[in-house]
Symmetry: C2
């Protein structure tokens, strides 16, 4: 006869993360970079303010399940919302400040946000769509108390029926502890919208369970091995994919948080790193590319880092090598998406390989984190072998992976309980995932696949190339051929011939692009990825100046 | 209106741990120390055998929820059972080979074990109670194929109605993969009985959920930070408290397992460490005390260790210091119990303290692991402040803490959803737990508490003392006074006067024992803890030779 477990049925809750940090690490720090120096608070202070925020929200009628949005940079108040809003049972909705106005209004209305916490400096952005917002009852303005007078608040008055508050006044007088409700761990804790290049943004709703398990995942020895001895710099925005879970993970283990506010340019970032000496950081490749170029020119001390996490798009090997050689900083690539909380894989080299061999693993997307599973499937849906050769779409499942989108049917994105990632690639015998393309960016030339990502990464290794994107364009003979869109490094003039020569020992000969175009910058999506859809549109509209080299 | 999370509802299952190790780390190793050298297998091989075991068990009628017991040392087949039995949905019951015969029969019958996997060398132990076992249908004998003939198996034939198998033959011919069932994560996965010194053993039934969460806990940066680069030596028996979760945790992250079989004496342990170079180990203090004395006498290279976990009873500071100074090995104390899976707290020093200050934290029981909570309560049940001063019983709750015992009422052990640990102590403002006594070992002298554990640890720092236990005995004037029971170091003759002088700057003057007795060894319970109940009985029976020193 089967028997029952005797274990306690304690739920995994964000209030548990909050209280653990408050009780065990009261002296750990949350440091926000500001225009006039940093603001530093203790966990005890931040936890007290998170409780005050919860009381204040309850005071204006927020109940369990209500959506409370944030429209903020990375700073202490945003962290207070991360902790307090979810712990009280409301659902924190991080609005991406880089959305186009129409998308922004769509997200607020679709999520039915009742409250928005907004940075004073971002009021003009929200102001553009204020009159279109249909569900917002309260707007709480963070910061800007000194310079931000009634005129600055005016755009918010166009939100129908909304009351406007100041964050500090909103918190004032409320108790500094809160009797957090014992929620179902599967209850909604937070939500975010993905910003695809087609259609309306789609919502993902994280649960307390998924958030806690993902945060444990980040703290694992094989992922970031976070402890209270760390100081974690989240450059990755808290309005994007949970800031990779770093906010929760760092708080849970008592690490210091270093939050850069809006100061994401290389110079202030490097200054903050030198001054506050973080041990761990997370950001997309374009941030680190900027930091590298700044450090090369100016010199800098980045020696406090033991680990730099990089993801969001493929990390060029040249970037990783130069960070290691020139700055002594170890970059570890991770892969994930909003739909996966986001961390799905981490690219640490396996044991037992030489330094030289390790690079082929470090430039892959890596291996799945304990707790999630991946597979690679053929067009007919059959699971393909883990042989490093069989190319197909990558699928993922696990307790921090979404199983659907919020209030919209998208059956094409799911496959028998697995999320289709939209990424195409291989998995090898050790479980290393290698993404060769987004499924929509695949280039099929004469019936064979060319990896735009591999071409881009190889090109970005050229000393005279700052950035490069490769798209597939129509070709009379081969159906599709690659077009290389290149941004020259400052003061440099790379030629197609020199770049083809540079590529010739790095990729198959038939991959070498014949078509080249030089652009001032690669257009980016709202989350900083190459916007290849826009590049294709520009190409088709004849807006790109294409050089075709003769090949023989 | 509240909204639902969109996250996948994927269960946390031991089959997930098994498959992750199999797919991602097929080349990691499981090394078992043997009399004739070590046996080394890959994860791929062990996973295949775990699947074969599951098929074989199903073949003899084992279904989901059935109990499959193990009566084994730490070795590869035991690990195969850890993984395969639970993954198939059966419940692995680890029988403690150090139980008294009556307790052993009680545990098998109370758990209704259907199958027992037993080491050939342990047949005589089970044989003593064979005729009393009422539920066992199959016994599978592990190892001993060479020397263990029919005569050696004979004691098992006294088990009514049981069929006897050989492990290798039992596995042979079965498929090497298994379509693991998708279980409820709260289903029973394994069970263990606590071996208190009073009453029948009490069962704790772990769930898949509790096992997975606990294993994630062990892998955290702040706990053991395990990765595939580790090689984990589990001296702590797999028949006791899940081997501290090391078997699951190490497998999940791909670390090598080094399993010592029955070779737990200092000499073979040190040889195995020197030969196989583990990076992490777990064992009770008495094991490490033996290793230290052996190494002091013989010399040894323990430099492969980056971390030695020690727990099960309080770890003497002198042991930790000598390991660090003489062997260069860092011991970290952890605290837990069978009821807590077992790891509850880990004693790493907080950041920002000097090396000298760090010791007062390292000799504490440490801070709770992310995910569990502790509190200290007064006799009247009120929660006491975390001030490092207020003494009360420690209580714990969390998803890997038991909420009851298996089929026995024990309301006195639970308090409004919290497990009473039976340990008495304090918690300080940084969450450090300090256990001063088992509640039943508390010494109350003139209305004030004396910590027997502190006295013991201080005494064991005396160079001429090998081991020491302190119990409370009746005193006409003070009601109770401490009696120190001392085992002299080899060739040494410590005197009460020298030991009192040694203690005088380490504990309060009124704690100094007047009563002393010298014994050949401190009696231990079946899990290696000081058996103070037996010491008290011997004292009361007049069987101890007590010296009383005059004080003035």
């Amino acid at each position: 006869m089967p028997i029952a477990s005797t274990m306690q049925d304690r739920p995994l809750l964000i209030s548990g993360i909050l209280e653990h940090g408050r009780r065990i690490y009261p002296d750990s720090r949350v440091i926000t970079v500001g225009a006039d120096g940093a603001v530093e608070s203790t966990y005890a202070q931040v936890a007290a303010r998170a409780a005050q925020l919860a009381h204040a929200l309850r005071g204006v009628g927020v109940v369990e399940g209500d959506r409370v949005a944030t429209f903020c940079w990375n700073h202490q108040a945003h962290l207070e919302a991360y902790l307090g809003v979810s712990a009280m049972g409301a659902v924190m909705h991080t609005l991406n400040i880089r959305l186009f106005p129409g998308q922004l209004a769509f997200c607020v209305n679709h999520a039915e946000d009742k409250v928005i916490l907004i940075d004073a400096s971002l009021i003009p952005l929200l102001g553009k769509v204020a009159s279109e917002l249909t569900t917002v009852e309260h707007v709480v303005v963070v910061g800007g108390d000194g310079e931000c007078g009634p005129a600055a608040l005016a755009p918010l008055e166009a939100i129908p029926g909304a009351t406007i508050h100041r964050y500090e006044a909103f918190l004032e007088g409320h108790p500094s502890t809160y009797d957090w409700p014992e929620l179902d761990e599967r209850a909604a804790a937070s939500m975010a919208y993905t910003s695809g290049t087609t259609g309306d943004p789609k919502g993902v709703v994280y649960s307390h369970r998924s958030t806690c398990l993902h945060a444990l995942g980040i703290c694992l020895g094989s992922v970031a091995a976070l402890t209270e001895r760390d100081r974690v710099l989240s450059v990755v925005p808290m309005f994007h994919a949970n800031a990779w879970g770093l906010a929760y993970a760092a708080w849970w283990c008592g690490a210091d948080h270093l939050l850069p506010g809006p100061f994401l340019q290389p110079e202030p970032l490097v200054r903050a790193i030198e001054r506050h000496r973080p041990t761990v950081a997370g950001a997309v490749p374009s941030i680190w590319t900027g930091v590298l170029h700044y450090c090369s020119a100016q010199g800098a001390d980045l020696s406090s880092f033991r680990l730099v996490l990089c993801g969001g798009s493929a990390v060029p090997e040249s970037l990783m090598r130069r960070f290691e050689e020139e700055l002594g900083v170890h970059i570890v690539q991770a892969w994930g998406m909003t739909e996966t909380s986001p961390v799905g894989t981490v690219a640490r080299a396996p044991r037992g390989v030489s330094e030289a061999e390790s690079w082929s693993y470090r430039v892959s997307q890596g291996r799945v984190v304990q707790g999630v599973e991946m597979r690679v499937v053929a067009d007919d849906g059959a699971a393909l072998p883990w042989d490093g050769q069989s190319v197909g779409e990558l699928e993922i499942r696990g307790p921090w992976v979404t199983g659907r989108y919020y209030r919209v049917e998208a059956p094409e994105r799911f496959d028998d309980g697995w999320l289709r990632t939209g990424d195409v690639g291989t998995i090898d015998a050790r479980g290393y995932v290698r993404i060769t393309d987004r499924s929509k960016d695949v280039i099929k030339s004469g019936g064979e696949w060319i990896s735009s990502v591999d071409l881009e990464n190889a090109l970005m290794g050229h000393p005279d190339v700052f950035e490069a994107a490769v798209i597939g364009v129509h070709d009379a003979k081969w159906e599709e051929r690659p077009l290389a869109c290149v941004v020259a490094a400052e003061g440099k003039e790379p030629t197609p011939a020199s770049m083809r020569a540079f590529l010739s020992d790095k990729v198959a000969r038939w991959w070498l692009p014949e078509r080249w175009t030089f652009v001032d910058e690669i257009p980016k999506t709202s989350v900083g990825k190459f916007d290849k859809k826009l590049l294709r549109e520009r190409y088709e509209a004849g807006a790109l100046d294409v050089v075709e080299v003769a090949t023989g």
